[in-house]
């Protein structure tokens, strides 16, 4: 199971904190961050806008990464807006 987390304003707007997806059952088609992002964006216009590349950053297993990163079952993926700590 792929665990997907959302943070910050993104989490509020899409009203979702956490999702689980069985990527094996989905035929392993979701094998990169880019494909997962595309699948999530297909949900509706809000998801499309706020999960867009450049608007939502992504971390795979708690490390910030780019869209061509491979993903595997049991990975933890997080999408979030640019960070604003400090």
């Amino acid at each position: 199971m792929l665990k997907i987390l959302f943070f910050g304003q993104l989490k509020d707007i899409i009203k979702t904190e956490c999702l689980e997806i069985d990527i094996i059952q989905s035929g392993n088609a979701l094998n990169t961050v880019a494909k997962l992002r595309g699948m999530l964006q297909a949900k509706d216009d809000t998801w499309k806008e706020y999960l867009a590349y450049g608007k939502a950053l992504v971390a795979v297993n708690q490390e910030m990464t780019s869209d061509d990163t491979a993903i595997n079952d049991a990975d933890e993926i997080a999408f979030f807006p640019p960070v604003t700590g400090g």
């Binding site: 971390a59 640019p82 960070v83 700590g85 400090g86």
Partner: protein, 153 residues
């Protein structure tokens, strides 16, 4: 005592004096000690801020901060390094973040401290929501912060 690295993410306030003293007591060879403290400001644009709510990504936060400190240690010769970041609800003028660095040379202490803050600002998974008299608003990231952190590459 000897040189240390301390990374803490916590809801409660930190005792600045205690943190300063720990850095100062950690060795007798570092002549320079630089601290940065970020405070909740009362003004953002036209709104009146009553406080901030700080959300973070717990599993990732300390990992990222540890990496930033590791990178700083590879760039400058540092003694002790301390990073404390608060999360949760904060009021106006409360302390948000502490970065303290000791070094034998003041330039290293200044630059490493600024580097840590610049990377924390763009890499560490914290998100600020302002609580204002007109309601809550998530703070937008600043393009200038992205540019600043690129300046160290």
């Amino acid at each position: 005592m000897s040189h240390f690295t301390q990374i803490v993410v916590q809801a409660q306030d930190f005792d600045f004096t205690h943190e300063y003293q720990k850095l100062r007591d950690s060795n007798t060879s570092d002549g320079a000690l630089v601290t940065f403290v970020g405070l909740v400001r009362d003004l953002n644009l036209q709104q009146t801020v009553s406080g901030l709510f700080l959300e973070h990504y717990p599993a990732m936060t300390e990992k990222v901060l540890a990496n930033i400190v590791k990178t700083a240690r590879s760039k400058w010769q540092l003694g002790s390094v301390s990073v404390i970041h608060r999360v949760g609800q904060l009021k106006v003028s409360e302390q948000i973040v502490f970065v303290g660095v000791t070094s034998q040379h003041r330039q290293s202490a200044y630059h490493a401290n600024e580097f840590i803050m610049d990377y924390l600002k763009t890499q560490a998974p914290f998100w600020k929501k302002e609580t204002t008299t007109q309601g809550d608003t998530w703070i937008e990231a600043k393009a200038s912060d992205m540019e600043k952190s690129k300046g160290w590459l």
